[in-house]
Amino acid sequence: MTEGVTGQAQEDPGLRRYLLPVLAILGIVILAVGLRVLADPRASQSLLAFIYDIIGNTAGADDLRRGAGDLLLAKIVLAGVALVIGVGGMWLIYAGVSAIVGLLPLRLQEKVYPWVFVVPAILLLGTYLVYPAIATFITSFTDGTGGDPLRHYRELTTPPFLAIFRNNLIWLVVGTLGSVGLGLAIAGLVDRVRREALAKTFIFLPLAISLVGASVIWRFVYAWKPEGLPQIGLANAVVTGLGGDPVPWVQTPPINTYALILIMIWLQTGFAMVILSAAIKGVSVEIIEAARLDGASERQLFFGVIVPMIRGSIITAATFIAIAILKIFDIVYVMTGGRFDTDVVANRMFLEMFQFFNDGRAAALAVVLFLAVLPVMVVNVRNLRGQGIGA
């Protein structure tokens, strides 16, 4: 602890010891001011207008304050400033607070240090996940009018909601089995061809596409024109080409739900394929050879040896996809908005929030979703533990 006194000759830790705490306070101030500015919905315009005032472009500043002018530029400037403030301020705080802790007596240091690193994450998780989850539970049992805490749940047992739950169940079963089944089949097939990586890219690519984008893509595949007109959608072109009548896929229950599920399968098969393909490669060559020598056919080898050996990975892929499917929202929202008997829990919840303004029922739907995801997640975690992953 004497370096501070002997000082100057080396890199002067004394300076660093006092500089960093100052920086920490500076970071906090910058972050606070920054957040204050950013919380304003018209932040971007005010900011660029302020800059224009400084550099003397009064006309530009006035335009912006009226809500016209270089709005796009204003936004980009704001984003740049926000990035510097957000990331820079954050690092300053971590660095500075660490330095302040470094001034404490050694024993105290060891106690305080971990919290410097963990507290920001805990605060965010507490505010955005723990507190809301509890609040949603409470809201779901709160009845605005009478004193019936179970009212929202009781309403969920009426036919329109039972239809929604039935749809979610169809999604869960068909979507999960479809994605994992196809993913497994394709993983098994491409494992035996050259150019495997290229083939996989094709299957994998949809994963990069948003659910909204995928919905538009498939809306076009399902496009429908009255009989006699040229069909511009691929699906109906095939149907009419084979001599059938064009089908309004999206509007016709019950096939429309399956048509929507197909979109999800198209997206998720690549995910299953990646996991299962890696697992297949992990099966030892010796075992495959042994099965061959015992006279197993290719089919027996695949279903009798490889599939049982990669069971853990199959469960992993299935649980991840099942959870994504249970929460499915975008596809239904974009394709039908829940009409034509296609509604699902997450979409209905959104409608309850923003169209019917029934927060209690929306909260009850969220709780139902949570309860549906829970067992799948338990299976997932158990399965991962079984594979020796400490989480």
């Binding site: 704001l78 990331v87 061809v193 094709f202 538009v216 975690v381």
Partner: protein
């Protein structure tokens, strides 16, 4: 002798595993067929986005392959319309503004936390980490209503700040768990020698942990980037459908509502939303695959 011989054995066995050519040809055809089938829907909107509205409505997009060089059938007009009057350019900028901080901030916060969970002993560490893992179970939907009310009170609805914080928090559990899995596997000697050298935790973190964790950080960054860029629900709930601040998935879903049968606009709009994630994805495919496997199968 045995050690160098092993790789040869392995590849020979792999070779034997591949079936003979007469079973391989149908296999190849099947694989090519599947790849083609998988790409057709995307190819359809890609081709259509360059055709003029009349052609689109009178003939299937696949018919252009009969006369690909016919004059006047290709144009960039749809894109001009979509980016201009349909507001997709603004939405594109908004998406960038939302996505970049929403990717960098959670990684930073998660990395600090993951390091502390992995390498610093403190009371409550196990319990807290268990809570973080437990939060993976909570669907986003559980958070929407209370946060929306909170945002209403604080005036954060419709602000970029609001959505950055939301995406940061929602991305944290997965980020912390993924980074923990990686950082906790770093060799113990590293940290012991750093401690002997008198490095503080902050120095150990910035000089050792961060550089060594680049693969894991990168994998999560790609995940989070794609997730935020493609997200509709959080954007709809916390930013709203207003033209000023809406992001691309919102803008595209609005287009579907307003321009339902105008395929020249919809296809071009869809392609604009897809272009950046597709490029990122194709360039960084390996890292992405590694990320998926790290998050699901092995640590």
């Amino acid at each position: 002798m045995t050690a160098p011989a092993k790789p040869v054995e392995r590849s020979a066995a792999r070779q034997a595993y591949r079936p003979a050519w007469f079973t391989r040809t149908p296999l190849r055809v099947a694989v090519i067929g599947i790849c083609l089938l998988w790409s057709l829907p995307t190819l359809g909107i890609f081709v259509t986005s360059f055709r003029n509205p009349i052609d689109i409505n009178t003939s299937g997009w696949w018919e252009v392959f009969l006369h690909p060089f016919q004059e006047g059938q290709w144009s960039l007009n749809n894109y001009t319309v979509v980016l201009g009057s349909e507001g997709m350019l603004t939405a594109f900028v908004n998406s960038l503004i939302v996505t970049i901080p929403s990717t960098i901030i959670p990684i930073t916060i998660a990395a600090f936390a993951a390091y502390a969970f992995a390498w610093i002993r403190f009371p409550g560490r196990t319990v807290l980490f268990a809570v973080v893992v437990g939060l993976l179970v909570v669907p986003l939907q559980m958070a929407l209503i209370p946060i929306l009310r909170l945002y209403g009170d604080l005036g954060l609805y419709g602000t970029f700040l609001g959505i950055w914080l939301a995406h940061t928090a929602f991305g944290l559990p997965l980020a912390i768990v993924l980074l923990y899995n990686f950082i906790s596997q770093l060799p113990r000697d590293l940290f012991e020698s750093a401690a002997i050298d008198g490095a503080t935790h902050f120095q150990t973190f910035t000089r050792l942990v961060l550089p060594l964790s680049v693969p894991a950080l990168g994998a999560f960054a790609i995940f989070q980037f794609l997730w935020v860029w493609n997200d509709l629900l959080i954007a709809l709930v916390f930013l709203g459908p207003g033209v000023e601040q809406r992001v691309m998935p919102t803008a595209l879903s609005v287009l579907v509502g307003n321009r339902g049968e105008q395929w020249h606009i919809l296809t071009a709009g869809a392609f604009v939303t897809m272009i950046l994630p597709l490029v990122v994805f194709l360039l960084l495919q390996r890292a992405f695959v590694r990320g998926i496997l790290a998050g699901s199968v092995k640590s």
